[in-house]
Symmetry: C2
């Protein structure tokens, strides 16, 4: 990507035509890219157009999801991974997801500070995504934004989630390689198990491994992983000290090994096909919810809800009536 | 319920009119009830009618869900709970759910043998439900069948799941009181954590508590439960030996305590309102899937799927087109 013809910010903010924005974004114009992402996030028709235009070019990026409890060091680790990718000259995009926050702030702001090593590097693009408060908003928007970044041409995309809420875990699990980040100390592996993280990790990272209790955590974690059985990939456990960079090379090697496994076993095609179909299903649900709400209005939905809750109307008849009303629009 | 006017089986199998079947089922005719449940399970319009007719009378039954790994002793425990309810003269229905099996057989057949203490008791109704192979079939059908049993007048309903698959865990968690059944031995609490059971249990049962390792399992389990924090209900842990009946009274007391907590705290109304709305949403998805499939046919859906998987069409445009086609019907 080469930077070409910057426009003043105020003018860029008004441009919504994907035919203008896409070539600029592809040639490295970050404001054009940011504008496109906002159009996609907001569910604007121009965002849909942009996605439809780039979709045939997707499937080349390798996506890495990071999940784990807040404070586990995911942002510092992301920073290290960005540094590694950049040392090879490759461009990298990072999507930081915080569905719990209605605004981009708090933890995410801190993350961006931790990622500031790369803030002036034109080969790095960092985007924070926070919930805009509408149903399933961020969970629905993230795969769309990741596809846009993929289609624009980023060969590496990191997806970092702040916590271990259900939506965040699903987002991290939808990456090609999912990293689960833990810390030393009794109970962390159990917390990870409770949050459903043991099931989704392709690579486990015990970060802050210069602290006491690392060996116990490694032992606990490996025992738990053995209990669960595994398919044709046995998830490796890597120790890191993200603050110093220790273990980054081993982590990068584990990610590469997982990528190689998926590519050589043929699992990658099946994984991506499943993900595409899941995206269709999720989008169908979001569209349907929107149409039901539009057809009924908030008052109408409240009335149906009250009928069901007070048992004047059963839920299954209610669903049939709602769908009939949407269909009759 | 009083038994009245039995009809020959062959004739009953042909009756589909809820106006005929409902009064019979209410007065204790188990074949009429079985027929109604089949109509509900199969999604027949007569089943919908029956549900709509009884729905205003639902909300009086107390539902207890049992989940845990296969072999944990859930059926034997269910047998004990049935015995306890019956000793008080109350009628009880049991729904045994096995989404993994396309036929009613295997584990379920064994369960029915273990429940045979009650097979000749007219105050006990036991129904096995197995997946009929269609999308979301059993997960969608179970709450409908439970509502029918509730509306027919059963004051106690037990819902036993065979394993800890996602659909089964959701079904068990949708009961008023959810029992999570474990066994002594290292790893069982961790397995429960991994399956997401620690989050959903209202009462934990360590069954087969005459075996070695019971104290360690109790300790592990309590530590894990403490780690997770809790709301206004701290889930008790009960030990049982279902094969001898030991601990049944304590388990029954724990269930009663949980019921009392939900009723006196006002949580019950909120819980049931949430469940009703979740049922509407789930039904909307099932109806929409059916309509999409009907509108496109299997070949049509395959073609859309192939377009998305081969990246000729993005998932979000695909969903919009699909919904437009359903809407245009």
């Amino acid at each position: 990507m080469r930077r070409v013809g910057w426009l003043p910010s105020a003018r860029m903010a008004r441009i919504t035509d994907p035919d203008l924005l896409l070539p600029r974004a592809r040639s490295g114009d970050r404001r054009a890219l940011a504008r496109l992402i906002t159009l996609v996030e907001d569910g604007r028709p121009e965002g849909d157009e942009a996605l439809a235009a780039v979709y045939p070019k997707t499937g080349t990026a390798w996506t890495v999801g990071l999940t784990g409890a807040p404070g586990a060091g995911k942002s510092t680790l992301t920073n290290r991974l960005i540094g590694h990718v950049r040392s090879g000259g490759t461009e990298v995009a990072t999507v930081a997801v915080d569905p719990s926050s209605p605004f981009t702030g708090g933890a995410i702001l801190g993350d961006r500070v931790r990622m500031q090593d790369h803030i002036d590097d034109p080969g790095v693009y960092i985007r924070s995504m926070a919930s805009r408060g509408h149903l399933g908003g961020i969970a629905a928007a993230t795969p769309r934004v990741v596809s846009l970044l993929d289609g624009i041409g980023f060969p590496e995309i990191l997806i970092e989630t702040v916590g271990v809420g259900q939506a965040e875990v699903e987002i991290a699990a939808s990456a090609d390689t999912t990293l689960v980040v833990l810390n030393p100390g009794w109970g962390d592996s159990i917390q990870a198990a409770k949050a459903g993280l043991l099931e989704i990790g392709d690579v486990f990272v015990v970060n802050k491994a210069d602290r006491p209790g690392t060996n116990e955590t490694l032992k606990d974690l490996k025992q738990m992983l053995e209990l669960g059985g595994h398919g044709d990939w046995w998830p490796p456990v890597v120790t890191t000290v993200a603050s110093t960079g220790e273990g980054t090379d081993e982590l990068v090697a584990a990610i590469a090994e997982h990528r190689n496994h998926l590519e050589s076993s043929g699992s990658l095609a099946a994984l991506r096909a499943d993900r595409a179909v899941a995206d269709v299903r999720a989008a169908l649900e979001v569209h349907l919810s929107d149409r039901v709400r539009n057809a009924l209005g908030d008052d109408g939905w409240e009335a149906v809800r009250a009928d069901v809750v007070e048992r004047r109307l059963d839920p299954w008849s209610a669903a049939r009536h709602l769908l009939d009303r949407v269909t009759a629009q």
